[in-house]
């Protein structure tokens, strides 16, 4: 046997052992790892059965051996002993016949913003365990069953920085093909590859069939060797015991499929035993790995989204930057982020694919602020981020919380910059923007720019950054002061791309500084740069949508000297430019708050809107209703699920309550009356009584419908659950409602609906009734003369229709 694991990996299929946890007798010890101390013979037995089955690698019993996990069982004092013994037991059993992999599982805790733990705390936990494992003589470290990409990243860093052992990073996916926190295999590969694990892959979770797609995605996403260790199928409860259905043959058959896909290491996980391993060894143990060809590509990622740079230039939104924005400066100084949120969302809507974040400014604690800004923005949008600062401390703070693969904006050719920024990029697996300037300043010639670029690439590659992760910015200088430099910088861009094969990027907006109608110049420069092969543009995404202008083009090409013609033509627009509506797009902010379910800011935003002179009805009708309608559409198409729908409705309800107070004021009445007469039927004044019928005490569904209705402007009189017929009818009549909404959940209570409907008919009360609930059907509703809605969204739709009919038709009330 060759002694180097990595050597063998090159030309052999490696077979890992199967499960440890499910092979151990239950109820022995406080956790499986404790057995290393109190029943080493039991652990050794499992290992030796796998060695006999022919496994190439034995996984030591150290999966839960980190401080946080051990603490749950009061074993944290034994950390060193448990991990050391774990490796020793495996080592004694294998006797050199198999490699010993030290297993490192997740902490079981969550990182901020999802949980309370920080990067540094997690790093310390992993570092502690990994040092012990390496010291004890493990051959390989395998990080397994990782649920969150950021945690996997930290664990991987801890391995790379604390030992020289080969490291395998194995993740776990849900039936959606994503990690619990949303990353799919392509995203995971994008984020982890720069950290240089030796092997990447998946274990546990789905069983072999379910992992097939995951591994297919991995196989096309990375050229790294791959590992797969599926469960023995999905567990079922049989007779109070968990049973895994996959037979050894079945597992082996899949192992072969995986090998044919180009997977290098196969094994199995929970529910499998030595017989599975034996079958796998027999079928694939002697095969050679199939070569996979994956062309390395430039890509960035957030936790849930990946961005490639293949086609048209990628727009990087530049607007989260307090330079020249007083309100934003003020907000950041006070540690608030509502404008940042607003800009993030707005730029995403306008086509930004990546967001640049800059929080530098007088009186702003940049390191602290950027950390918070990243957390806030990642909650709001799922775009990859560009961290905009020259300060290594700031960059580091940001990269410790970024959930994806970020871009560092920027490094330059100066020694002081190269020395500190490049190692940071390497450490956190970020891509970099290299500015073509050095100690001598910005070069005037194309050749000098090329030379600086070579230096940056050379140094970056030396510290271990891939060429694909380097963007070069040839610097767009202000056309007003250095007109002749515009084309120089573009020519340099074209040459660098051609000669050195790196991606190119430009900060567009600097070009127009000091000139009128900047968006037009920016847009024109952006379109011009495209023709020179630009790959990414840092720009106001709104500008990128404008068409270029021949007048502006002349300025950029130096044909309109001093931009005289241009300035003349722009007169009249200048005024508008001086006070741009920078921050205060209150409409977008309000709408964003609804869409994101942002409860924190909604009331303040509503006040601001009123202060700006917007009419309450206008706010509801033109801003809030379209926003909540969009939420409904997202829910219907499935991108939003129930909690998102509800949290948006919750925010909407808060806003409507505040605004309806305003409408009760005299100044507003005429508007409402017009609504009453029904020309524009806003439901603002429409009343519905809601109840869960007598005997029925389950009111979740009814509550959600009530909330949605009030978030669409209905006045909801919610009578609660278990409500008697008499009370419902009494309230409906005395409160002069337009609609009655009833919910019933059981076969024993559905009959109440008919009783109510019969009673309404008997007393000739003509109020339409809307019904719903688990047992109610549209046929039943029809039979009792009511209208059926299948869910809360449909209830709103039907309620609106019924109200409309009520106005047009004979619908007078008794």
């Amino acid at each position: 046997m060759k002694h180097n694991f990595l050597e063998r990996l090159k030309d052999e299929i490696i077979v890992f052992d199967g499960a440890m946890g499910t092979e151990l007798p239950p109820n022995l010890g406080r956790c499986p790892e404790e057995l290393n101390l109190i029943h080493p013979e039991v652990v050794a037995n499992v290992h030796s059965s796998y060695v006999e089955a022919g496994a190439d690698v034995i996984t030591a019993n150290t999966f839960g051996g980190n401080r946080l996990k051990l603490k749950e069982n009061g074993l944290e004092d034994k950390l060193e002993e448990i991990n050391t013994r774990g490796i020793e037991i495996a080592r004694e059993v294998t006797g050199g016949k198999a490699f010993v992999a030290a297993s490192v599982g997740p902490t079981g805790k969550l990182l901020e913003p999802l949980g309370e733990f920080t990067f540094d705390q997690f790093y310390d936990v992993y570092q502690e365990q990994i040092k012990v494992l390496a010291q004890a003589g493990a051959d390989i470290i395998i990080l397994e069953t990782m649920l969150d990409i950021q945690e996997a990243k930290i664990a991987l860093l801890a391995v790379k920085e604390n030992c020289n052992l080969p490291v395998i990073c194995s993740l776990t996916f849900t039936e959606e093909g994503r990690m619990v926190t949303g990353s799919d295999p392509l995203i995971a590969a994008t984020i982890l590859e720069p950290l240089k694990p030796d092997v990447l892959g998946a274990n546990c979770s789905l069983g072999p069939k379910g992992l097939m797609n995951v591994m297919k995605e991995f196989a096309s996403a990375t050229s790294l060797p791959l590992i797969v260790r599926p469960n023995a199928g999905l567990p079922r409860m049989v007779k109070g015991k968990t049973v895994y259905p996959a037979t050894p043959d079945y597992m082996a058959k899949y192992a072969l499929k995986f090998v044919n896909l180009g997977i290098n290491i196969v094994g199995s996980c929970c529910g499998s035993g030595p017989e599975h391993t034996k079958a796998i060894v027999e079928l694939v143990g002697d095969r050679e790995p199939k070569e996979r060809k994956v062309i390395p590509k430039t890509r960035l990622a957030s936790r849930t989204k990946v961005v490639f740079f293949d086609k048209r230039p990628i727009i990087i939104g530049e607007r989260i930057n307090p330079t020249g924005k007083k309100a934003l400066q003020e907000e950041l100084r006070n540690g608030r982020f509502s404008l940042v949120r607003g800009e993030a969302r707005k730029q995403e809507g306008e086509g930004a694919r990546i967001l640049d974040i800059n929080v530098s400014g007088e009186g702003i604690d940049e390191a602290r602020t950027i950390r918070k800004a990243v957390l806030v923005i990642e909650k709001m949008v799922d775009l990859p981020l560009s961290i905009d600062s020259p300060n290594p401390e700031v960059i580091e703070k940001a990269l410790k919380v970024v959930g994806g693969k970020a871009l560092i904006n920027s490094v330059n050719g100066k020694e002081e910059s190269l020395k500190v920024i490049l190692p940071l990029a390497k450490r956190f697996g970020a891509a970099i923007i290299g500015l073509t300037l050095d100690e001598e300043g910005i070069p005037k010639t194309v050749q000098k720019r090329l030379r600086i670029t070579k230096k940056i690439i050379d140094r970056a590659v030396k510290v271990g950054i891939s060429k694909e992760d380097i963007f070069i910015d040839t610097l767009a200088l202000t056309v007003a002061s250095q007109q002749e430099q515009v084309l120089e910088s573009l020519k340099a861009l074209r040459l660098i791309k051609k000669e050195l094969g790196v991606k190119t990027i430009l900060g567009i907006s600097n070009i127009s500084f000091g000139l009128p109608n900047r968006p037009l110049l920016n847009a024109t420069f952006y379109h011009l740069a495209k023709t020179y092969g630009l790959d990414a543009a840092i720009i106001n995404p709104r500008d990128a949508k404008l068409k270029s202008s021949s007048l502006a083009l002349k300025v950029l090409k130096g044909e309109d000297k001093g931009a005289k013609e241009y300035i003349k033509a722009q007169k009249g627009i200048i005024e508008e430019e001086i006070k741009p509506k920078e921050e205060a797009d209150i409409r977008a902010q309000l709408s964003g708050a609804i869409i994101d379910g942002n409860k924190e800011d909604i009331l303040r935003l509503a006040e601001e809107a009123l202060k700006e002179g917007l009419k309450p009805l206008e706010i509801i009708d033109e801003i809030l209703i379209p926003a909540i309608t969009l939420v409904g559409e997202r829910y219907n198409e499935g991108t939003y699920f129930l909690p998102q729908l509800i949290s948006s409705a919750e925010v909407m309800k808060l806003a409507c309550e505040r605004l309806s107070k305003e409408m009760e004021k005299p100044a507003c009445r005429p508007v409402c009356r017009r609504g009453r007469r029904g020309r524009e039927t806003l439901p603002t004044q429409r009343k519905i009584v809601m109840a869960t019928v007598e005997g029925d005490i389950h009111d979740i569904g009814k509550n959600i419908v009530s909330l949605l209705l009030s978030s669409h402007g209905f006045q909801v009189v919610d009578l609660g659950k278990d409500v008697k017929k008499e009370r419902i009818i009494h309230e409906a009549v005395s409160q002069k409602v337009d609609l009655i909404g009833l919910s019933a959940l059981m076969t024993t209570t559905i009959g109440r609906m008919k009783e109510i409907s019969d009673e309404l008919k008997r007393r000739r009360i003509n109020i339409p009734t809307l019904v719903g609930g688990a047992v109610v059907t549209s046929q039943y509703a029809k039979r009792i003369g009511a209208t059926y809605a299948k869910d809360a969204i449909e209830a709103v739709k039907k309620a609106k229709e019924l109200v409309k009919k009520g106005i047009g038709g004979s619908g007078g009330k008794q």
Partner: protein, 198 residues
Amino acid sequence: MKIIENIPVEIEKEKVLKSLGYYRKKKSVLSPSIDALIEGEMKKAKGLIKGKGIYIILPVESKSKDKIILKNISLKGKAIARTMAKAKRIALFVGTIGPALEAEVNQLYQKDEYTKATILDTIGSVAADGGAEYLNSIIIEKAKKRSTPRFSPGYGDWDLSIQKRLLEITQAAKIGVTCNEAFFMIPRKSVSAVIGLY
């Protein structure tokens, strides 16, 4: 009749997400803010759930196509008769997670915290079902017999009205479970069911 105190209730996040419609159309995105809410409520739920169960095993006295007769109680309906066809004895059981969680859900609604309330309520349902699953497995383990699937009042044509009798016979009041006239169990996050042993 046997009472099981302190049923270990594990809440599976996957199941909570599923019940909340996360997998409905296979493209839902779990936003970090919602995820944080779910995590928070799951944490809170742990302190609110007190899993208890009670069960009794009765021999089958006679059975036909649409009826299983036990001592003091008959299970009527084609579906239940079919499901219990092989059974020699039948275990009737009731499990609950107690009233604290739903009290908190109601509190949350009072405070207009609809999202949290809905999430916590869903967690309660998942926990109650998990508790029932656990009870189910304990009963089988102790009886050392094979079993039919779990069957609850209201499934198929098994009339919900049996609920009352089922709670009486299992003496579910001892673990705090009763039902109202519409046969809703109180606390709501409770499960009643039977399994056949053979």
